[in-house]
């Protein structure tokens, strides 16, 4: 029987007159990968910011493992075991790759007891895992975009989270890099057993990886279900018609 690890209830977030999220509710079960999709401006990243405490919602609650975490500070939420990567990568440029990853380990859920030596070991093994071990001593700003994305992932994984929020980890990568990253994400799921929510525009990736998908459109949740259910949902297809490229991908998906 799957356990709910995260539950989002009736979340509403406004920016001035703009309604970025409009009474959105969904849940994530332990061990699954939830895809969060929708056209640009649908409120996906805003939802991540609400979950991680960067924004306070005007209405609604967020529950993590049954505990109400709405309105908590981002660092407190991170320490409970929710980590994220950013759409626009945010490496600590002047610090080395190893130091970046160590910071993840030092301030994660085990922040109270972890020593620097332990953090270093965790960081090194995570870097091995994501394939950045040989760049450990390099300043992060010298990495290329693909490596920076891996570093974001490494930093989040070093926290040893229970829930990982991935914000477009595939964006900006070329097809072979995308394939590598998908492999890596599978490895995260299969070996580390971490629950994930992924915001993604690379449709074949999210359709392949996700167990379930939630679709946002102009701040409203318009569909949720298995990839098949969502891909055949007329409202979803209509939503993507505003975005021809996406619509095309959907149509392709439907024809299959």
């Amino acid at each position: 029987m799957a356990r709910e690890i995260l539950k989002v209830e009736n979340i509403t977030k406004r920016f001035g007159g703009l309604l970025a999220l409009d009474h959105v509710s969904f849940y994530v079960n332990e061990g699954e990968i939830l895809g969060l999709i929708g056209p640009n401006g649908a409120g996906k990243t805003t939802m991540f910011n609400v979950i991680t405490g960067v924004y306070k919602p005007e209405e609604g609650r967020v529950y993590f493992k049954g505990r109400d975490i709405t309105g908590m500070k981002p660092h407190s939420i991170a320490r409970l075991g929710i980590s994220r990567t950013h759409q626009i990568v945010k490496p600590f440029g002047d610090l080395t790759v190893l130091e970046n990853t160590m910071i993840g380990a030092l301030f994660g859920p085990r922040h109270d007891t972890i020593t620097e030596d332990e953090a270093r070991e965790i960081a090194l093994s995570v870097l091995e895992f994501v394939g950045l071990r040989d760049k450990a001593e390099m300043p992060a700003r010298l990495l290329n975009i693909q490596e920076k994305k891996r570093l974001e992932l490494a930093r989040a994984l070093a926290q040893e989270p229970e829930l990982l929020l991935l914000d477009e980890v595939l964006a900006g990568l070329n097809p072979s890099e995308v394939a590598k990253m998908i492999k890596l994400l599978r490895k995260v799921r299969d070996e580390k057993k971490i629950t994930m929510i992924m915001i993604e525009h690379v449709m074949h990736a999210v359709m392949n990886l996700a167990d379930r998908i939630v679709v946002l459109h102009f701040g409203r949740l318009i569909a949720q279900g298995t990839p098949e259910e969502v891909a055949t949902n007329p409202e979803v297809v209509a939503a993507y018609l505003g975005d021809p490229e996406m619509a095309l991908k959907f149509v392709k998906r439907l024809r299959r």
Partner: protein, 334 residues
Amino acid sequence: MAPGKGLMLAFTRKGFYLSLALLAVFIVIGVLFWYGRIGANIPGYAMDAMYYIGIALSMAIIMSYAGYVSFGHVVFYGVGGWTLVYTFNRLASESGVLSFLHGHSYAILVVGTLLGMALAVLLAVTVGAAVLRLRGAFFAIATIGLDYVILYLESLYATGGSDYMYIGYERFLEKTYFLYLAGLILTVLIAYIIRVSKFGYGLAAIREDEDAAEVLGVNTYRYKVQAFAIAAAMAALWGSLSSWRTSGIFPDFFSLSKSVDMIVMNVIGGLGTFNGPIIGSLIYYVIIKATQLYAKDLAYIIVGAIVIIVVSVFPEGVAGLIKSKYRQLREYLI
């Protein structure tokens, strides 16, 4: 046991070698001076150098480690100097609340210094709670404002009546030298421990990207206030020590130009490394001394030009420059 062992190991790291070498030089000078083998000139220069390293490292905690440029740092330095003189002339006077200390100048020095540091921490925590909500340039400007408020209020007080300016006790330069040395050792140890500790990593994360740091679990606000308070206490320590050396405080004790000194030393040395501010302060001291001797008129022109050149041509400072040019030296510069 584990953290203690880790800490011991940390002091054997190559990054600490420069400090060890410097401290050894200062100790040797002190011993020679104590036994009368050298005159007062060299120890005087050494004390100037210790003073510059001390105030540069106090600023480094907030500026170099956490990335917050505080033009108001001199306020804490001034509070340290002011409190010491106040302790001597009021608190520990024959009629003061600490009258039992009257006549014991070194006891008063210790008590006055600790009081000054405590007052600085108190000020840093209350003021810091407000201004540390600001970032970047806004923080810098707010601290300029803070400095001026204190400066004006202080000048108001000073013109109101100033029996508080001088320390009337006899002081011995040999002893003062070792007080400076003790202050320097304390400052270097605190700065180094912060740099290599978890706290230091958290501050580095704040400097590099505060939002990312917060999302990664760093309690950014608390860390900033703590760093601000520690930096303030260290600045107060040096304010106290230099008012002891110069036998009192002068109106320039709160002047913005001391903050400028502290900032420039950090800029020259380079942000983010432990040794950067130390190297920066030594270079700055040599420049200041050389201009005082040979080109007094040109002091500001030279300093201004250096700041512009460093910031625009090698923004990582001297330590950063060495690090990128000579990769094998990197470990020595942490």
